[in-house]
Symmetry: C2
Amino acid sequence: MDRIRATYRITASESESRVRAEALAAEQSVEMPVGAIDDPRVLDEVLAKVVAIRPHAGEFEVVLAIAPETTGHEASQLANMLFGNCSLQPEVELVDVEFPEGYERAFPGPRFGIEGIRNLTGVHGRPLTCTALKPQGTPPAGLAKLAHIFALSGIDVIKDDHGIANQSYAPFAERVPAVQRAIDAANKEGGGRTVYAPTFSGASRALAEQVRIAKDNGVQMALVAPMLVGLPQFVELQGELGIPVMAHPAFAGSARIAPPLLLGKLFRLFGADATIFPNHGGRFSFSKATCHGIADAARNPWHGLRTMLPVPAGGMTVERVAEMRSGYGEDTMLLIGGALLSAKDHLLERSREFVAAVRR
Amino acid sequence: MDRIRATYRITASESESRVRAEALAAEQSVEMPVGAIDDPRVLDEVLAKVVAIRPHAGEFEVVLAIAPETTGHEASQLANMLFGNCSLQPEVELVDVEFPEGYERAFPGPRFGIEGIRNLTGVHGRPLTCTALKPQGTPPAGLAKLAHIFALSGIDVIKDDHGIANQSYAPFAERVPAVQRAIDAANKEGGGRTVYAPTFSGASRALAEQVRIAKDNGVQMALVAPMLVGLPQFVELQGELGIPVMAHPAFAGSARIAPPLLLGKLFRLFGADATIFPNHGGRFSFSKATCHGIADAARNPWHGLRTMLPVPAGGMTVERVAEMRSGYGEDTMLLIGGALLSAKDHLLERSREFVAAVRR
């Protein structure tokens, strides 16, 4: 296989399937009437080809073979060829992608992956624990105080809430040093190895400044929403960070790119070391199958890329730890945020219960 | 009004509407149980508020008042607060946004707008004409030859096909000088003022190199897909370009952000001078109302921002020029690509027919 195979689900009657499939192949490659192309090389090497049309639950699936060269071996152009124009066709969903051997080399893949995150945190043989600093609007001293309690409880990773970015009430330049110092102090006090993952946001100049601050303060992990900063910038940022990156699904609007593909495969290809997703049975409606599809895409052997740590989240509770652990296995990071904060004055105790439930 | 007002349509029964609305307000601001927040300042100044719930066609609409400060006055964080987490809820659609007076000052808005594009091209009192270099896979010399013919015919703007990025068969560094030279020669030959808009893609380092090449070669306009390069990078890029920017809708997957909001208002706020969208009756299924909604959002007075040029496209033909002109009026750019190229050996004649139809 020397082509990228992209699978689309199309909501249209099967009688139209051949016409729709051929139209999609033109749309996602030459974007012009195929009959007006004279150059045999373009027809042979550039035009996407329909390699399969198959019925699927009353709709049909189309598999296109897309020439790797059309993607320029770069993230924004790959996204463009997979789902650029057809993202504007509400009846088309991007379901899955397979890459030819070696194609992945143009992309970073996870630089640390599950093994790197385990080595960084010193956690082996059990799932990792994670929580979030909330709510936005809390000044740096308040967030630092929270972080100190969470770190004392033994939680492995403390991330910023994804809504905490670079706002005036807790600017990155003030918040990150304060929180990192608080965690360092708690680690010293309690002998732990808790890691802080602040939110990186904005365009390249803002990101470069955030990287500098993070390095100056010994930050060991990063939280980035690839769809907010943009896929190509997500790739470039990692080269500058040099620490494990957790991907956040904000703005991924993944209803029309299958979540296991976007939050699983593609975020992994583009270099996420961990991927956060809304677990079934929480505040979001992802099904159990979708969630396990994401976890599989994160951890299954794939092109020799490092594995990516699945991080189910979104309204999780300490009571669900055992079930999540048996469902996702050990190579998982369990993220509980608001449910810990609801304990208010008993935050340290509730956080310790979370840690104990996972260490059990 | 000192808050951002964001309108969402939610597919759920009306009996749930109050609960769903309050949950959405928490999700899009503090992202934690409201009862666990003690700080009255956070409850008062940071938590989004439900300001209206109203039935709409069997579903209901919710208007949230979002604190501007939560957006950090920056594109990625604004997108996060408007549609970060709730983009993962398939029953939620972002319909519209209104900003408080003065909020827009943090963003560029169109730097040139309709007036700047008219001054650049010397076109007044009629719609502008636009076509695209296609198909990708054509080497620079072939694209330059096409561009020469289009420019000779008097088309105002020649853009790269959005699929032409930085691939090996026509790298930006070779393609852009060749095409710009061909257009310059045709302008000299025929006395025209045709402008070239190449595709900019990739992350900040690649973009900086493309800006350098474009400046060295006297390129006067740019084509950028904001959702592919990322919204914050789209904003930053413009400051470096210093020429009018056409926004392309690729990857905008706008089914769940209303297109008049994303391709109209938000792209305008973020600085696009022109916005390309799939016209009704072409290869895409946008309705006439949606298309005119985009055009209205592009051109209506709004916060003192410059107007943005609407560019209906996507399977348009010379035969539709009169209808498009009467529908959209003069402050429009008509983009016809493949239908011109289908003329093959008669490309110059067909392009001249397009130009004549618009000059008529």
